[in-house]
Point group: D2
Chain length 350, copies 4
Amino acid sequence: MKTYSVAILGATGMVGQHYIRMLQNHPWFRIKTLTGKDSVGRKYVEAVRGEAPEPPKEVAEMEVQPTDPKHVDADFVFSCLPTEAAREAEPRFAEAGFPVFSDAAAFRMEEDVPLIVPEVNPDHLHLVKAQRKNRGWGGFIVTTPNCTTVGLVLPLHPINRQLGVKRVTATTLQAVSGAGYPGVASLSILGNVIPYISGEERKVETETAKILGRFDGGRIAFDDVDVLATCTRVPTIDGHMESLVFETEKKTDKETVANLLAEYVSLPQELNLPTAPRKPIIVRPEEDRPQTRIDVDAGSVPGMSVTVGRIRVVENKVRLISLSHNLIRGAAGGTILTAELAHHFGLLEG
Amino acid sequence: MKTYSVAILGATGMVGQHYIRMLQNHPWFRIKTLTGKDSVGRKYVEAVRGEAPEPPKEVAEMEVQPTDPKHVDADFVFSCLPTEAAREAEPRFAEAGFPVFSDAAAFRMEEDVPLIVPEVNPDHLHLVKAQRKNRGWGGFIVTTPNCTTVGLVLPLHPINRQLGVKRVTATTLQAVSGAGYPGVASLSILGNVIPYISGEERKVETETAKILGRFDGGRIAFDDVDVLATCTRVPTIDGHMESLVFETEKKTDKETVANLLAEYVSLPQELNLPTAPRKPIIVRPEEDRPQTRIDVDAGSVPGMSVTVGRIRVVENKVRLISLSHNLIRGAAGGTILTAELAHHFGLLEG
Amino acid sequence: MKTYSVAILGATGMVGQHYIRMLQNHPWFRIKTLTGKDSVGRKYVEAVRGEAPEPPKEVAEMEVQPTDPKHVDADFVFSCLPTEAAREAEPRFAEAGFPVFSDAAAFRMEEDVPLIVPEVNPDHLHLVKAQRKNRGWGGFIVTTPNCTTVGLVLPLHPINRQLGVKRVTATTLQAVSGAGYPGVASLSILGNVIPYISGEERKVETETAKILGRFDGGRIAFDDVDVLATCTRVPTIDGHMESLVFETEKKTDKETVANLLAEYVSLPQELNLPTAPRKPIIVRPEEDRPQTRIDVDAGSVPGMSVTVGRIRVVENKVRLISLSHNLIRGAAGGTILTAELAHHFGLLEG
Amino acid sequence: MKTYSVAILGATGMVGQHYIRMLQNHPWFRIKTLTGKDSVGRKYVEAVRGEAPEPPKEVAEMEVQPTDPKHVDADFVFSCLPTEAAREAEPRFAEAGFPVFSDAAAFRMEEDVPLIVPEVNPDHLHLVKAQRKNRGWGGFIVTTPNCTTVGLVLPLHPINRQLGVKRVTATTLQAVSGAGYPGVASLSILGNVIPYISGEERKVETETAKILGRFDGGRIAFDDVDVLATCTRVPTIDGHMESLVFETEKKTDKETVANLLAEYVSLPQELNLPTAPRKPIIVRPEEDRPQTRIDVDAGSVPGMSVTVGRIRVVENKVRLISLSHNLIRGAAGGTILTAELAHHFGLLEG
C-alpha cells in the first residue's frame, strides 16, 4: 500500500523520542522531517534532550528543521509542541494544507476540533469537515487528550455506555516523565509526593465530557458526566496511576464491571490498526495490581493498553485502579493510532 | 506532680522507638519496662531493629522483658504489639490491673473498647467504666486508630460537626514506615506504586464511624458517615498523604472549610496537655502543599499536627489533601496524648 | 542438533526467574525440572517470589520438585541455590552423575572446582577432569563468580593480558536486586547508601585472582593481582556499577585502554555461542556514561555486555567505570554461557 | 561582646538558606543584608527557591538587594554566589573594604587567597595580609573548599600528619542537593547513578594539596599528596559519601587510624567557636555505617561533623568511608566557622 511521509513538530523532547521509536518500523508512516527550536540546523542525535535510547541511524543524522510549513516536506504532521508553540504553529500548518495530529493542549477544547481516543470516539474525527469549512483550511487539526485523561476515559467508556456513570472522582499518582525533561527537580520529588500539577485537574475534568460526547455530524454534545480530579506527582519514572471512584446509574457488581472492561474492543481492534493493542484494557485479578513499574508496558503493543485492577463494587459505587503509559498511550502512541484511524476514514488522502 | 512509671509492650519495633523518643523528657511519664519477644534478656540497644536514632543511655541499657504482666512493673502500659500478639497479651494486662493504651488493631472495634483521637472523641474514654464492669478487669484497654484513619478523621471532625459530611472517598499515598521493619521490600517499591495495603481500607472505613460516633454514657452510637477508601503504598519514608473528597450537607465554600480546619482546637489544647500540638490541623494556602517529605514533621510538637492543603469546593463537594505522620500522630504520639487525657480524667489513679 | 534437558535448582528466586526467561527460546537447552524448598508440590507460577514477569505457560504449570537427584530428570542442572543449600545439594547431584553449573558461592574457591567467566578463562573448564577423579564423581561442579567480580574481571582481563595490572581498588555501587527478594528493606535504602554488603568484598578480592590465574592442565596458579574492594548498596533496581582504579605495568594511555576494551572478543564470540554478546565490553565515549538505569541492558544479548566508560589515564594509573547486569551477566546469563562452552568442549556428553 | 552585621551574597539559593538557618541564633553575627539577582526588590520569603524551611520572620521580610557593595551595609559578607558571579562580584566587595568569606570556586586556587578548613589549616588565614598588600584592597577574600574536598581532607589531615599519606583514591557518592535547585532532573537520577559531576574531580584533586600545604608566613607550599577522584551522583537528598583508599608511609593498623580520627580536635574546638562541633570526626564502629540518610546530621552542631566508618587496614593500605553534609560542613557551616576563626585572629576588626 501507499506509505505516507510524516514530520514530527517538536521532535527533540521526550514525546518526540517515543514517536521516533514507534514509527521506526511502521508499515504506513515514514519519518521525513523533524523540527525543533533551539536545535535547528543540528543533527537530531545531538539535539535530543534527556536520556533517550539511541535513535535509528537514518533518523539520528537528520538535520533539525524550523517548525515552519515552508521547511516541512511531508504528507502530514505529528505535533508534540509545547502548548504555546502549538497555538501559534499548528494553524499555520493546517492552513498550509497539512493534516496535523497533535497531543498538545492548545486546541483540544475548540468547538470544531476533534479530541480523540481512538477506541472511544472514532466518529468525532469527521468533525474536521466542519473545521476545514469554518476556517477555510486545506489541512486540519486533530487533537488527543492529556495523558491523564486517557487513563480515565478508556475504562469509563464501556461502563458509561452500558451502565451510565456519574459522580466520578479521580486521584492520580503521576510519573515524573509526564513533566518532560528536565521537568521535576530531583530535590523536589525524591522520597516525596507533590499533590499538585499545574492545569492538570481542569484538563481531565473538561476533556472527559467532550470525548464521551455525542457527535451528530455537525457538532459534539458533551456528555453530562461530572468529574472531580486531584492530581499528584510521585517518584516513579513512567506511568500514571489513577484511583477512580464513580457511581453507576444501573445496578451492577464486580464481575459485570470486570467483564465490560476485559471484553472491551472497538474500531481500532476491529480494523487491526498497526498500533492498536489487541486489548485496550487489561484487567488484573490480583489484589495488588496494577503496579506502576511492573505493568506500565503491558499489552500486545507495549504501553498502548490501560491496565485496570482492584475493582470493588459496593451497591452502585465502583472503585478501581487504572494505569496507563503517559508517553505512549497518553501521547505518541495514542496520536499515531489516531492518524491510523484517519487513514482508514480517508482523511489523509490529498 | 506525681509521675507515672510506664511499660512499653513490643518496644523493639519502629513505633516502640518513637515511644521512647517522645517519652524521653515527658513531664509525667517515665519508662520503667520494655518488653519484646525474640530479644528477651538482651539490652534494648542491641535488640532494636531498623535504623533508629540511638536511645538515651538509661533506656539503651534496659534488659528486654517478656510481654507478661508478671515481668512488668509499671503504673500503666503502652502497647505497640503486632495484632495477634496484642489480642493475646492485652487482656492479660488489663485483667492484671494495668491500664493499657494500645495502637494495635486487635480490640479497636469491640463494643466496650474506646477508640480515641483525643481531639475528636475524648469523652469516649469513659467507656472504660462499662468495659471494666463487663469484663471484671482491674485495668482496661483503650485503643487508638489505624494511622490512616487519623489523617482522615481529624480534618473531618470540625467539618462534620458544623456542616455534616457524607459520601467520603479517600485515596491514600502511604509511606513505607507504615509497614514496619523490614516491611516493604525495596525491590517492590523503588520507582513504583503498590495500590494495596492488606486490611487497611476496611479499617479506615469502620473506625471512622466509631470515632465520630456519639457516646451516651453507656455505649457508642456510630455516626452514619460512609467512607470508601483506596490505600496505596508509595516510595516515601514517613507520612501518609490522603486525597479526600466528600460532600457537605449544608452549603459551604472554600473559606469556610479552611477556617473550620485552621481554627480547630479541642480539649487537649484547652488542657495544654504535654503532647498536644497548639494546632491539631495546620492549613497551608500554597497550591502545592502539603508535601510528604517537607511537611510531615509540622507543628509545635513535631509530627502531631495534620497538615491540610489544596482545599477546593465545588457546590457542596469538598476536596482536600491531608498529611499526617504515621508513626507519631498515627501511632506513638496519638497514644501518649490519649494517656495524658486519661490522666486528666483520673483514669490512671489506682 | 541434540537438545539437552535441564533442571534449575532453587528456581523460585530472582535468579531462577532470569534462567527461565533466558532459556525460554534457547536452541540447545530445554527446561524439564524446577526445584524449590518451601514450595515443593505447588505450581511454579504460584511458588515464585517477587514481582516476576509471567513465565511461559509450560513452565508456569510445572510442579516444583524437591532439590534431590532422585526427583530430577535432566541431562544437567543449573543451580542458583542459596550458599548453604548449595553446599549440601550440589555434591549430591555431581555424585549422582549430573554436571552442575552453579552461581552459588559454596564451591567457587575449592582447588579442583572451575570458576568461570567464559571470555576470560574458558580453559579452566577442563579442571573438571581432575575434580571427577579426585572425588570419584560421575558428574561435576562448575561455578561462576559473584556478580560483582564479573564487572571487575571482564574489563581487567584484556588490560592485564597486554599491559599487566596491579594495585586494583574497586568501589562498587550495587543494586538492590543483588540481595534477592525480599532482600534489602525499603526503609533501609530509600534516599540512602549502605556502604557494606556482607562477605562481598572478600569474594571480589579472592575470586579475581583465581579467574585470572593460569591453568596448567592440572591445577590453577592464581594471578598475583591484588584487589581491594569497597562494596556499597545504592537505591537502584538492577545493575552493579564499579569505580575501578589500577596501575598498569607498561606505559599506556586512554586510547590504548579504550581500544583494548572495545575490541575485546574471546572464545564465546568466536564460537558464536547462543548467549554470547557480540561485544563482551561496550565502551561509551560520553563523559557521563555508563549510567545504571540506562545502560544495564546494553548489548546484543541484553544484560550480557559490560559497559565501560569514563576511562581516564594519568601516567600508568587507570580509572574507569564499569556497569554489569548482576542477575544476567552476573548470574543466570553468565552460567548459561558457561554451560554452552561446556557443550563445545564435549563436557555435557554422557 | 561586639556583634557583627553580615550580608549574604546570593542568599536565595540552597546554601543561602542554610546560612540563614545557621545564623538565626548566632552569638556574634547578625544578618543585615541579603542579595540576589532576578529577585532584587522582592521580599526574601518570596524570592527563595526550592523547598526551604520557612525563614525567621525578620529575615523573611527583608527586601532582596542587588549584589553590589553600594547596596550592602555590613561588617563583612558571606558569598554563596555561582562561580561566574563570584568571580565578578567578590573582588569588588574586597576592594570596597569588605572581608569576604566565600564558598564559591572562583578564587580558591589563587596564590594569595586562603582556602580554609578551620581544623586543618587555620594559619593559612594570615595569607590575607599578603593578599591585601598585593591587591591594594581594604577588605579580602577567604575561600572554603568544594563540598567534596571537605569530606576527604578532614579525615586525611590527622593521618597525614602522623603517618604520611600517599596514593589517595576517592570514589564519591554525592547527593542531589550538591547540584543546587533545580539541579539534577528527577528523570536523570531516580533509580540511577550518574558517574560524572562536571569539574568536581579536578577540584578535589587540586584543593587537597593546597589545604594540606605549609604556610611559611608568605606563601603556601602545596603538600605532595596525590589524589585521584571519581565523582558520582546518587539518588540521595543531602550528604556526600566518599570511599577513600590510600597508603601510609609509616606502618599502621586499624586501631591507630581509628584513634587518630576519633581523638582529632583542633583550634576551633580549643577556642570553643560557636559553630565548631565538639568532634570534627565521628568514628562509627559498626560494619555498615556511616549511612547517608541516617548519619548526615551527626554531631553536636548538626551537619558539622564528618562521620567515618568501615576502617580497614591491610599492610599500609587504608580504606574507609567518610560522610559529610555538603550544604553544612561542605558550604554554609564551614564558611561560618571560618569567619569565627577570622574573628579570633582579629581579621574582622576594621
